[in-house]
Symmetry: C2
Subunit: 214 residues, 2 copies
Amino acid sequence: MQQLLRVHNVMLSSDGFGAGEGQSLERPFGHADPAVLGAWAFATASWPNRTEPGGTRGLDDHFMREFGRNIGAEIMGRNKFGPQRGPWRDHEWQGWWGDEPPFHTPVFVLTHHERPSFSLSDTTFHFVSGAPATVLEQAKEAADGRDVRLGGGAATIRQFLDADLVDTVHVAVAPVELGAGSRLWTSPDELLDRFHHEVVPSPSGVTHHLFWRR
Amino acid sequence: MQQLLRVHNVMLSSDGFGAGEGQSLERPFGHADPAVLGAWAFATASWPNRTEPGGTRGLDDHFMREFGRNIGAEIMGRNKFGPQRGPWRDHEWQGWWGDEPPFHTPVFVLTHHERPSFSLSDTTFHFVSGAPATVLEQAKEAADGRDVRLGGGAATIRQFLDADLVDTVHVAVAPVELGAGSRLWTSPDELLDRFHHEVVPSPSGVTHHLFWRR
């Protein structure tokens, strides 16, 4: 069984940015408002950080359900893990997600700065450097036959796309412009040489883009 | 955790029929052509009866992936199980699906005629009579905390809808008229008093209808 590298639920502005400028502890998405970029996701029954019952079970929820299906590991960029840059000053920061991170698998955080692995509930964070292909190999081994999710942000996804390591991509484009920030693409057409592409407008107002290898 | 009764991948004509007239061993869908009703499904990577690698991974595939996700049992009508009607003359018929049925769970076949349970690979078929609510109770117990899929055909789904036992429904309407046969609805509007409804056209030409309880 082929192990895929899958991208899911990337929240993007209509001009191609996954986060704004000036990311910080207080504003993890910089000048972008996550409540606008992610409104479609937060409303779904399957939103992994959902704390109250309920939520929609329509099209958007079908995409959200893919987040954990047959996933055995995640790869994420350091900027998704936290607002720090440069060497780790201490190890107090353990991510945005509290004691029960929504990953439930090994997570490989890309960083040039060493840090010991640690576990929170059933998620273990490893800190790795190395070329995308090398990190993907580590993650596939940890995934034990299941697929690997490429968790973002936009720059990290772009890096793995440029290395031609990604098998499927799901992006949800919100009807908002950011003007600047962490860019995934100038246009989805950039991927058409290597991927099939479907565009699916959702009743919630976002437009889902699906890509899979030709 | 609530156990849902879920309907997935119901293939329907634009005039509301799930199968044509004159169902038989040679024509399980009667005068309807399953290659037309189901073209969208058979093309997907996740089609459960797929024998060759490949297949699409776009919108239609996202719906197909739901077939097995968190499902612990299926309920199906006798007409889905086979072309026989009336008392079982023998027990040679074991369904349409060969030695490896795509269900991988207990399956409850609705029939007024007794027949012993049997297993094929990791699927066990039980033959049950009784009101929909009673059969659902049996299936939920067998599902061991997971959801129950209501597998069809159209008349069986209608029966459980009329008993108000269904939580989510996914129907894929193909651009073809049948004129007669096994009917799910005259119009999807019949469900709007009890369900949210989303209509999602697919690039493949079918239109997906999603319903979840209000």
